[in-house]
């Protein structure tokens, strides 16, 4: 077949039917609080790291739910575990536990 110099760009849409939710599943079993988020953004707004880095707890758990686990992990790498998000969350989510679980289990070879 002749090579015309075109290639297929991977789709940027989220395919929920085939989303890889393994990491979300592990974290949500160990800390069901992750299901309670209403995406109000209080965590990111109060975050000590979010002004200078890409840290965003709200976005991270959304990405995780959509199967974008690697992006989720990247959004938590700069977290200093200061705990302000736990204090401000209107749903009382144990953010620290979720962050720790995501970072711990993302290294798990079975998930990657």
């Amino acid at each position: 077949m002749a090579d015309f110099g075109f290639s297929l760009h991977p789709s940027s849409s989220i395919d929920l039917d085939n989303a890889d939710k393994r990491l979300y599943k592990i974290v949500s079993e160990l800390e069901p609080d992750i299901k309670k988020c209403i995406a109000c953004g209080s965590c990111t707004a109060s975050c000590s790291a979010s002004n200078l880095t890409k840290v965003s707890f709200r976005q991270a758990i959304l990405k995780l739910d959509r199967g974008l686990s690697e992006e989720a992990v990247m959004l938590l790498k700069g977290c200093m575990l200061c705990g302000k998000c736990t204090m401000t969350c209107p749903r009382g989510i144990n953010t620290r536990n979720i962050i720790n679980l995501i970072l711990r289990y993302s290294d798990n070879k079975k998930i990657k």
């Binding site: 995406a39 109000c40 953004g41 209080s42 965590c43 707004a45 976005q59 969350c89 209107p90 009382g92």
Partner: protein, 340 residues
């Protein structure tokens, strides 16, 4: 005239409307009000959403239609003797009232905004509440409001917040913020208003219309993010921080005036009153309804009924409808006790 009497605890919108309906059904209601005048929370309000009707006109109508009632002001219920659903009620000023039925219409408490310390109410010079703003509309005077150019509204203050133990949505704040933003914009045409929201709940007829009006005619900007903290700069401007969740970026803005939309909590009197009546409270502190469908006016005590925001946040029209429904429940109950 049936001669049967109904004791109504609380002389706000629900109490007054049910009294008016009970009067037209031939009963003699007795209203017990803890304040020195009737009216409850409507007294503090200037205009009502969505049409801008004057609260005073609504209250005057309620007072007129319920004026045949016996009224005890500055009074609380101290003791209730229940003998086979014949009630003997002792009030705080030693008055004793006999009643064939009791209706609880104790309403709600406005959330005390100073409890959310991070929003700076009572700490910073230009942070007020929705109630303060209505008082300003009535009195035209508040030293915290000085021709503001940039005005913010914080939705869900004391609502949908586990940290202050209130999980409920207060229902009325979204549309009230939109109404108040339009009113302030009309008073201060050079100003720009911002609403900080988590979800906009424009659930009733006409609500979407004023939301649209706020956007298209008054340029009100809606920012989807819950305010995380408020501070004050050296020029006494209010500095608001939130995440602009739709652009996924932390956001900061300096304002001349910040309005906190304080929500509805259960009336604090309910912790004292519920054991006196033997009526159960739900986990959220509001009174428990025996059945939510078809109607929420029955309590666990035979002969004791309930209406209005004592069973959870409601708009004024919902409260008035609920009060009418309670009057009919009581009418049916008193008729069945005559026949049975």
């Amino acid at each position: 005239m049936s001669g049967k009497s109904v004791l109504i605890i609380g002389g706000g919108a629900a109490g007054l409307e049910s009294a008016a309906q009970l009067i037209s059904l031939g009963y003699k209601p007795v209203i017990v009000e803890k304040e020195e005048s009737l009216g409850g929370n409507i007294k503090n309000w200037d205009r009502l959403f969505p049409d801008g009707i004057e609260a005073k006109a609504v209250l005057d109508g309620l007072l007129k239609r319920s004026s045949f009632s016996d009224i005890y002001l500055n009074s609380n219920v101290i003791e209730v003797k229940n003998s086979n659903s014949n009630f003997t009620v002792t009030l705080s000023n030693n008055n004793v009232v006999k009643a064939d039925s009791i209706l609880i219409t104790t309403g709600f408490d406005v959330f005390k905004a100073e409890r959310k310390e991070e929003y700076g109410y009572g700490i910073y010079d230009h942070v007020i509440t929705n109630v303060d703003l209505e008082k300003f509309f009535l009195s035209k005077h508040d030293e915290r409001i000085n021709s503001p150019k940039k005005i913010g509204f914080v939705h869900c203050v004391g609502s949908r917040d586990e940290k202050i133990c209130n999980r409920n949505c207060s229902k009325v704040c979204c549309v009230t913020a939109v109404k108040q933003a339009i009113e302030l914009k009309e008073m201060f045409p050079d100003s720009q208003a911002y609403c900080f929201y988590m979800d906009l709940r424009m659930f009733n007829r006409g609500f979407e219309d004023i939301y649209l009006e706020a956007q298209s005619q008054h340029g009100v900007r809606f920012i989807r993010g819950r305010v995380s903290e408020v501070s004050e700069d050296i020029d006494k401007k209010v500095v608001v921080k939130c995440e602009d969740t739709l652009s996924s970026k932390p956001m900061k803005i300096k304002l001349d005036l910040l309005v906190l939309m304080s929500g509805m909590l259960n009336n604090s009197s309910s912790t004292q009153l519920s054991p006196v009546l033997g009526v159960k409270l739900a986990e959220d502190g509001f009174y428990k309804c025996e059945e939510t469908i078809p109607g929420g006016n029955k309590t666990n005590v035979n002969g004791v009924f309930i209406a209005g925001t004592a069973t959870g946040p409601k708009t004024l029209p919902e409260t008035i409808n609920d009060a009418r429904s309670a009057a009919i429940e009581i009418h049916n109950y008193l008729n069945s006790t005559i026949n049975g």
